[in-house]
Symmetry: C2
Subunit: 310 residues, 2 copies
Amino acid sequence: MIPFFTGDALRRAVSPERALEAVREGFVAFARGEWTMPPKVYVPAYPAGDFRAMPALGGGHALLKWVTSFPGNPAQGLPTVTGLVLVSDASNGMLRAALDAAAVTTLRTGAAAVLAAETLGRPDAESASVIGVGVNGIAVARTLAARGRRPLLWDVDPGRAEAAAAEVGGEAAATREEALAADVVLTVTPGREVLFPEGSLRPGQHVSLMGADGAGNAEIAARELARVRVFCDDWEQASHGGEVAQCVELGLLGRDDVTELGDVLTGEAPGREADDEITAFDSTGLAIQDLAIALAALESAPDDLPQIPV
Amino acid sequence: MIPFFTGDALRRAVSPERALEAVREGFVAFARGEWTMPPKVYVPAYPAGDFRAMPALGGGHALLKWVTSFPGNPAQGLPTVTGLVLVSDASNGMLRAALDAAAVTTLRTGAAAVLAAETLGRPDAESASVIGVGVNGIAVARTLAARGRRPLLWDVDPGRAEAAAAEVGGEAAATREEALAADVVLTVTPGREVLFPEGSLRPGQHVSLMGADGAGNAEIAARELARVRVFCDDWEQASHGGEVAQCVELGLLGRDDVTELGDVLTGEAPGREADDEITAFDSTGLAIQDLAIALAALESAPDDLPQIPV
């Protein structure tokens, strides 16, 4: 028998603050080479969507995330992202747990967005905003609130921003411009519209670019990203599918221009170096983040979880 | 809620004969390009073992098998092969079922071994034997019995051969030589010892080589395999990890010397062409076989399956 963590069970087992610490430790272990991540595999089912098989190895466990992206699903009343995370003991291969993949994804996305903002934003940053409050955006807002912030929220649907603000303890922004002007801005949009055109970020700002998961989409203009200090979760993934990819294609950024967050966390590489520097974090989402959340969940598994008779 | 097929539930839902027909249809769909199979990913946890993430797409579904090979497990009272098979709807990504990976593996291995023997063996073949009756060997023997054969069984552990013979309705061979002399021989051993040295197969014989899953292991000598008509489940996999691989490395076999079973089943390529020809089938195990079994299971899912609240 192995436990199955539904989304609710996972949120009960792992608080946003615990998730942030777990994800921090995961990035550090990955940067040190203690955790590894074989490349993810895409199973295309276009035009409807695709499946991804994302493996990771670390902390005595192996993880496989089987997760989807079907952008047209909400129109049918179905979620865009679904699937399962499987965790096995790396010493003998035996399954240890299964978890709802969408819930793991939202928790680790919130954690990474805020971890990057705290690591790379100015220490005296006052205002923090979230642009786009779908399931992952709400998780980012919830993590900010858990870290003592009162986030300013903006969404194309004003009612959704109001509801999210009430839910997590934040404030709905009056305009998008107001939200984009915050000291740290965390964007979680589909990236069909560029939020940051060239020249729009102001000295000292930090932006965590969490959305735009899909070819041709972007939350920031290539020339704006190339103008600032650029960080990412993983060069390999970011240079192929992230915001960084568009800059690489245009020859605006190369490997040496981009710093991985894990290297900042271990002290291997510098983070922000001046108060007036603009920093941007390009998140593509790593299986090692999922592993960090899954291990945190295993540590504090409630007794009443549904069991799978494997 | 999605159903979970335990090993017992799967065996109740899909008989060996149904499995054989399903796997035949899977090989045909794969040969025609209707079903596809992105490359499998290995997650190494050596020296103890490894994990494999095996995806497949077809029949309106996407499959991911997360399965292990930990050869030292039996010494600790644990199975070598464990894991889960996940099946999702390819139109919207929603999970449809989870299945015990070891049970799917044994069922499809038995099906492929016998399918190859029936397709490539002489139509008048009388005797059929199974060498090695671990979990997969018993499945092969059970499939032979379901197709009206009374298989001759041999194992390094004579008691195990006796027990398997009683279980499936076969006969324990008096000697290994007796079993190796059958008209069709289905081998399911670790491949630490070569069963067929050069010159040992006799005209008209067929052998399905199902075992030796691991680098450096082989059930047949390279020069013996190169001497006969060679078939495989998938050139890509067989030329990298199968019995065929050793021949490729030695320059004894190339792509044109090996025929994929699916091409024989569709009529694209000839199978056995003469009564005195020796045929050998090199099985590496394909995710499309797992998909075939999983779809057959979904078709006849019992009402009383445990449910996972995804």
